[in-house]
């Protein structure tokens, strides 16, 4: 092997590398390295080591650190080696130093000098080595030491130096932007450098700068567009080509910059359309790198001011990605889809099957990416399915980092789109049960507030129902082991506040449960505190209602135990409880008013109610209160005075200590009056809960599409996805209906709203039915039976409303006088908010008037549709109906195989009323389903062939370079 022979490496070094390479286990490797450390410690300190030997030692140190052991004993030798005159040694020294040290290391100061000297070297390779080190080691304080030289090097005759100088300046900018603000114009200048390498490198700092301050760089749009054009036209040296793509990495960087510059700027965007379209066309979609550039183009398109043509080609590219067998491309496709739907929401629908496939994929990476997409396309109609899915996934994983992320996403989506409070509470229960300790405690506080405030309307019965169901669900859960602390706090609070409110549970039952909780979590003071306060509330409510309270023995022992607790907070709660119980009904009622957690507490800061008491005390000769601000100066005097007046004054020092608290003595009553404020339950922060409150009220308003939009915008951080997504369809739909159909607005509107009501349910079914792989679908159904059961009532409702809707649509059909209306409804259907059930309902009427279909002579099919639809409406099994629509896209395609004529219609109207029919029949008999499915789905044979093709084309890394690594170890 050539590598083992020459290059002047010593046998020792070769042996070391070999033994490391041959180590069978980490333990063996560790042994070798530790032995090496001992050897090096001895050797490296020897005097007069030959230079070549020293370089080897330094590399051995690099090995030691790389394999996870401390080599700090040799750092100084690496630093010394940077002084060496030999270029190789110098560069190796710099390399070792950059690998060993971070920018705050003490030894840096020793290197700065060398760097300064080397930056002035005549040998450009020395300068480059020094600039490499500058990029890694120079910290904020040492920037001034090298800055002038680095700036000077921007004009160096060697392009390699200019490039590295640009990057050094970039690094300074990253470290401390203020130190180089006056030099930023250099980046603009270097963009015009005649060396493509320097220009390419300059794109990095410019990207950072533009991201921070777009507006100052709008003038560069033309330049970037020109550069991209030239790159795409292969004007750069051949050596920048990679797999037949001209400088793809530079193209990608340029596209990134353009997408920032064009974001939300119509004028800038328009300048980019042409070049972007060209770049997309030129991408070789058979190579990875071509697809990488294509993906970047899609990202750019979705960031620019929308351009229909570009969006269309982006959508095409995405569908190619999603249909690919390569998981990598699918991943990129899902990501790109997530970007594009914010400007073109309707394309998500086209790909729902592919998306579901990715969601079902065993590959975790793909799954997570798909969840990210779902998160972006969540709206009130599909929130239940998506969040259910997310929670199921959250439960199944162990990775705490991702668990936290997905839990907070669930909470966020729940807060924004919850269709009902009940659902919200159930969902939150699940989230808390499985990730309670990972989510922000604010979420727990929010949940309490939501339960306390209810719908935020005047509907008291709904509120109390909500509370009852919360109480009931908590009593069910409470016994489970290992509940997170935050969740237990919520449970205790709710039980205390509402446990006995509806009279279904006796106080002794609730208090017993609370004692159990406190006992089971005796090490958790927070939970105990909540439990004790909850106990106090229950007893108070009883006393206030005039009933006699009998404390359970376990409560008594709990209170006794807690009153001796090491936690003063717990102690105080216990004493308060005991004190409250001893009072009369009226007093207790004042202290602990029923369901008053949301009432504002008025705090009389001046404590005027104590005036009488103070007056009396003063009359008896007490000291007047001295405000804290005046105290220090007056203190001594008052002390003297009191010494005169009081007998206790003999102990001067002591006096002072007792004197101050005196004014606050009356405040012993305040904790009682303010009892509800002293409990741990947070006095909710003003802004955060209010958002929830709004979000909670959203469901009640959802029927009017546009109004809920406004609400949802509040407190939404990443709102682009959702707001556009839900806004476009809902408004356009209702508007179009109203305008297109002046005669019967009510009818259509009601269809519309009905459809909206049920659309979330059909969404669910879409997710649940994976028509491509029946088996997978079956397992999917199995997987989600639970949520379905839970939803059985709503499912029932769905079918009912559906039949209503169908009736109405029939009515509408009669009322419709003009064909144009039918057409307009059909074309307007695709917007996803209404999708699903809404569509087919109208499809059933559309065919009867749709001129296309009459032309095609497909009337029998049309009839089929209506039969199917009414049949579906009659059936009470909701999933069946929904499956119908879920399969539309497949059927659309399978249909195109079976019936080329109808596919035209499908394309023209985007609605598959007809294909629905075929699909329906095939759905009834699985045997028919199979062949149509094969024609579309990834049949095993086809996919194998494709796979082989893909491998040939080099998408798969392992087989790409058969020549690489031919001669490997062993």
């Amino acid at each position: 092997m050539s590598s083992q022979g020459g290059f002047g490496q010593s046998k020792e070094f070769l042996d070391l590398v070999k033994s490391i390479g041959e180590a069978r286990s980490k333990a063996e490797e560790d042994r070798i390295v530790l032995r090496e450390v001992e050897t090096l410690k001895r050797r490296i300190a020897e005097p007069e080591i030959p230079k070549r030997k020293l370089k080897e030692y330094i590399l051995r140190l690099v090995y030691v650190e790389m394999l996870g052991h401390d080599a700090s004993f040799g750092y100084i030798h690496a630093v010394k080696m940077t002084h060496d005159e030999s270029l190789l040694l110098k560069r190796t020294g710099y390399l070792a130093v950059t690998l060993f040290l971070n920018e705050d290391h003490d030894l840096i100061i020793l290197i700065v000098n060398t760097i300064q000297k080397d930056l002035k070297s005549d040998n450009y390779l020395v300068v480059c080595a020094a600039l490499n080190a500058v990029c890694k080691l120079i910290n904020e304080e040492t920037i001034p030491a090298v800055l002038p030289q680095v700036v000077e090097l921007l004009g160096h005759p060697k392009e390699a130096v200019r490039k590295k100088a640009v990057m050094a300046l970039h690094r300074f900018y990253q470290r401390s932007s203020s130190s180089v603000t006056h030099l930023i114009s250099n980046f603009r200048k270097k963009l015009c450098d005649n060396d493509p390498g320097v220009m390419g490198a300059t794109l990095c700092p410019l990207f950072d700068l533009i991201t921070i301050d777009v507006n100052s760089y709008k003038d560069l749009v033309v330049s970037f567009v020109n550069i991209l054009k030239q790159v795409a036209e292969r004007r750069l040296p051949k050596s920048y080509d990679y797999h037949q793509m001209p400088a793809p990495f530079i193209q990608i960087k340029l596209l990134k910059i353009l997408s920032v510059l064009g974001n939300g700027d119509k004028q800038a965007s328009e300048q980019m359309y042409t070049v972007l379209g060209d770049s997309m066309r030129k991408c070789d979609s058979t190579s990875n790198i071509g697809n990488a550039v294509l993906y970047e183009c899609i990202c750019c398109v979705s960031s620019l001011h929308p351009n229909p043509k570009l969006i269309e080609s982006a959508a095409d590219a995405i569908s190619k990605f999603l249909k690919s067998d390569s998981h990598n491309l699918k991943y990129m496709g899902i990501d790109a889809l997530g970007r594009l739907i914010k400007i073109s929401p309707e394309i998500a629908e086209k790909h729902q099957l592919a998306v579901i496939d990715c969601l079902e994929d065993p590959d975790d990476t793909l799954k997570r990416k798909t969840f990210e997409l779902l998160y972006k396309m969540t709206k009130s109609s599909n929130v239940e399915v998506i969040v259910d899915r997310m929670i199921d996934y959250m439960i199944s994983i162990n990775d705490n980092h991702y668990k936290t992320e997905i839990a907070s996403r669930c909470v966020e989506l729940g807060e924004q789109f919850a269709p009902s409070n009940q659902w919200f509470i159930q969902t939150m229960n699940k989230v808390f049960e499985h990730a309670g300790d990972l989510v922000n405690i604010k979420v727990a506080h929010n949940l309490m507030r939501l339960i306390a405030e209810g719908f935020g309307e005047d509907d008291d019965t709904a509120d109390s129902q909500l509370r009852s169901s919360a109480v009931e669900s908590y009593l069910r859960i409470i016994g489970e082991p290992k509940l997170p602390s935050a969740f237990l706090q919520v449970i205790c609070w709710v039980l205390g506040e509402y446990g006995t409110a509806d009279g279904r549970y006796s106080p002794s039952y609730i208090t017993g449960k609370l004692c159990d909780v406190a006992e089971a979590h005796s090490s958790d003071d927070m939970v105990k505190a909540y439990a004790v306060t909850a106990l106090m509330k229950i007893y108070s409510f009883e006393i206030a209602a005039g009933r006699k309270v009998e404390m359970l023995p376990e409560c008594q022992s709990l209170i006794e135990e807690v009153s001796a607790s090491h936690s003063t907070d717990l102690q105080q709660r216990a004493y308060e409880l005991q004190a409250v119980i001893g009072l009369n009904a009226h007093a207790v009622g004042n202290i602990m008013p029923l369901d008053a957690s949301c009432e504002d507490i008025e705090i009389d800061k001046s404590l005027s109610f104590l005036d009488n008491y103070v007056q009396q005390a003063l009359e008896k000769g007490a000291q007047p209160y001295i405000p804290e601000s005046e105290r220090s100066g007056v203190l001594n005097i008052s002390n003297f005075r009191s010494q005169d007046q009081h007998e206790a004054s003999i102990h001067a020092l002591r006096f002072e200590a007792y004197e101050l608290p005196k004014p606050s003595l009356p405040s012993r009553t305040t904790p009682v009056t303010l009892a509800s404020s002293t409990e741990l339950v947070p006095v909710p922060e003003p802004s955060y809960p209010r958002e929830v409150h709004q979000a909670a009220s959203v469901p009640s308003l959802t029927d009017t599409g546009s109004s809920d939009l406004k609400l949802r915008l509040d407190g939404v951080q990443k709102k682009w996805g959702r707001s556009t997504y839900s806004s476009a369809p809902s408004t356009s739909n209702s508007d179009s209906h109203r305008t297109g159909n002046g005669a019967t607005p009510d009818v259509v509107a009601s269809v519309n709203s009905k459809a909206r009501e049920v659309s979330y349910a059909s969404r669910r079914s879409q997710v649940e039915i994976s028509p491509e792989k029946q088996k997978l679908a079956a397992s999917l159904f199995g997987g989600t039976t639970k949520p379905e059961k839970k939803q059985s009532s709503s499912g029932h409702k769905v079918s009912k409303t559906n039949s209503h809707a169908t009736d109405k649509s029939h009515g509408a059909k009669g009322a419709i006088s003009s064909e144009t209306h039918a057409v307009s409804t059909t074309t307007l259907q695709p917007p996803p908010d209404l999708l699903d059930l809404g569509e087919p309902i109208i499809t059933s009427n559309a065919p009867s008037v749709d001129p296309f279909k009459q032309l095609e002579g497909l009337l029998d099919l049309t009839q089929d549709t209506s039969v199917v639809n009414s049949g579906a409406a009659g059936a009470t099994k909701a999933p069946d109906i929904m499956s119908l629509y879920a399969e539309m896209p497949t059927s659309g395609q399978s249909d195109s195989v079976a019936n080329p004529l109808s596919s035209d219609i499908y394309d023209a109207t985007l609605i598959s009323g007809l294909s629905n029919a075929t699909n329906r029949t095939s759905h009834g008999g699985n045997t028919i389903m199979q062949p149509t499915q094969l024609s579309k789905g990834p049949n095993p044979k086809g996919s194998l062939e494709k796979d082989a093709l893909v491998r040939q084309l080099g998408v798969n890394p392992s087989s790409q370079n058969p020549n690489l690594f031919k001669d490997l170890l062993g």
Binding site: V62, L95, A292, P957, L964, L968
Partner: protein, 143 residues
């Protein structure tokens, strides 16, 4: 910032090259490498070449016994990074001729030098093979 670290690890999980573009202590590196390698080695060929780990995204590619792993942040084009790895391998291949794990082990500093030319401050700055290799060839000649 883009690229956060570049690792080469063999299929036994032993590190062959490590370059970080942000500072991590020795212990942090050790832990991170262990976790990532365990995750990536457990994956099969059909699965994505991308893995999420903590706040990193790892793009990896396997060549014979050697895995190339690149940790990037969220805004990076994964497919491009995947090809960047291949570009790195092609560059090393051009220099060493039929590059193998041992080449990298015996010439660790050269592998690092190539990376230094290609990536600075976590950004890809040079993708022309000749530009990457020129300084290294000059170094060879000089010594």
């Amino acid at each position: 910032m883009g690229i956060r670290f570049i690792l080469m690890v063999n299929k036994q999980g032993q590190t062959r090259l490590a370059q970080y573009f942000e500072y991590l202590t020795l212990e942090e590196r050790r832990a991170l490498e262990g976790e990532i390698v365990r995750k990536c080695l457990a994956r099969n060929d059909q699965q994505c070449s991308f893995v999420e780990h903590r706040n990193y995204k790892i793009v990896y590619r396997r060549y014979a016994s050697l895995f190339f792993l690149v940790g990037v942040d969220n805004e990076e084009n994964e497919l491009a990074i995947l090809e960047f790895i291949h570009l790195l391998v092609e560059t090393m291949d051009r220099h060493f001729g039929n590059v193998c794990e041992l080449d990298i082990m015996f010439h660790l500093e050269k592998a690092h030098f190539m990376l230094e030319e290609m990536v600075m401050n976590g950004c890809i700055v040079e993708t022309s093979k000749s530009n990457i290799l020129t300084p290294i060839q000059l170094l060879d000649k000089a010594s």
